[in-house]
Symmetry: C2
């Protein structure tokens, strides 16, 4: 997820489509991996792809209209918590007691995370980014190309 947000923000900073190859270099992964992830986001309408020369990926909505929760859902709502609250043997009363206590705590933590995700849009992240850029003494002339930040 962190990686996907990373890529999306880079796309937002870039005029025109960005190729899978360039995005892959920024995340130090393979272009095919990018295409697979983006294909899912495209189906939900968050990004768009263009083939052929001059093609690539671009964002299909306004940044303020995409929340972190949207992205989370778009990538299939993967598990947020590491310790699976397994209920191997629901007939075992000991296990039921354990599941009851842990389950509530885990559910609450998950709900907290999702609520936070809902509060934050890509526009917020973009604003944070630009604030950081000002703080670093850069201005708009300093091209924020993927290459300049992530190396060739």
């Amino acid at each position: 997820m962190s990686g996907i947000l990373h890529v999306l923000l880079h796309m937002a900073e870039h005029d025109g489509p960005v190729t899978s190859e360039v995005l892959a270099k920024a995340m130090s992964t393979n272009p095919v991996v990018i295409r697979r992830i983006m294909a899912g986001l495209r189906e939900q309408g968050y990004v768009r792809s263009e083939k052929g020369r001059g093609g690539g990926w671009s964002i299909a909505r306004r940044l303020a209209d995409i929340t972190l929760r949207d992205i989370y859902a778009a990538i299939g709502s993967p598990p947020l918590l590491a310790m699976a609250n397994r209920s191997d043997n629901p007939a075992c009363l000991v296990e039921r007691a354990v599941n009851g206590a842990l389950g509530k705590a885990f559910d609450d933590a998950e709900a907290l995370l999702l609520a936070r995700f809902e509060e934050v849009t890509l526009a917020d992240l973009s604003a944070d980014f630009h604030a950081g850029m000002n703080k670093a003494g850069m201005n708009k002339k300093d091209t924020v190309s993927l290459e300049s930040v992530h190396g060739s």
Copy 2:
């Protein structure tokens, strides 16, 4: 963690030491796995082991004096969240913005979980278990042996 709590409660219900072999069957795993985990808990003083005939594992403290957080710490405080908030390239301002937003949410969720862990003792879980047993119409005569609940 859920598995360890499971084993500890079973030990608590059992008079006298329980062997690794029996515990392993209850968790459908290998006795050596049990020994490795329990060895860690023993170093922290939560359980004790006895060798030789009639030996096995037993709980070394009162249940009310062991919180879920104690157990969590005793097993090495493994990661609670599934999505690692990776900071591959802290020089990248985009990544910093993403880490900032996600990191806060993750930290808060983690803190919530730990706080909950601290509130619950093994005695609480044991009480839940006995409550469930009453509800199921059992009484103390119904032996709560590992075998009866988990199969041979």
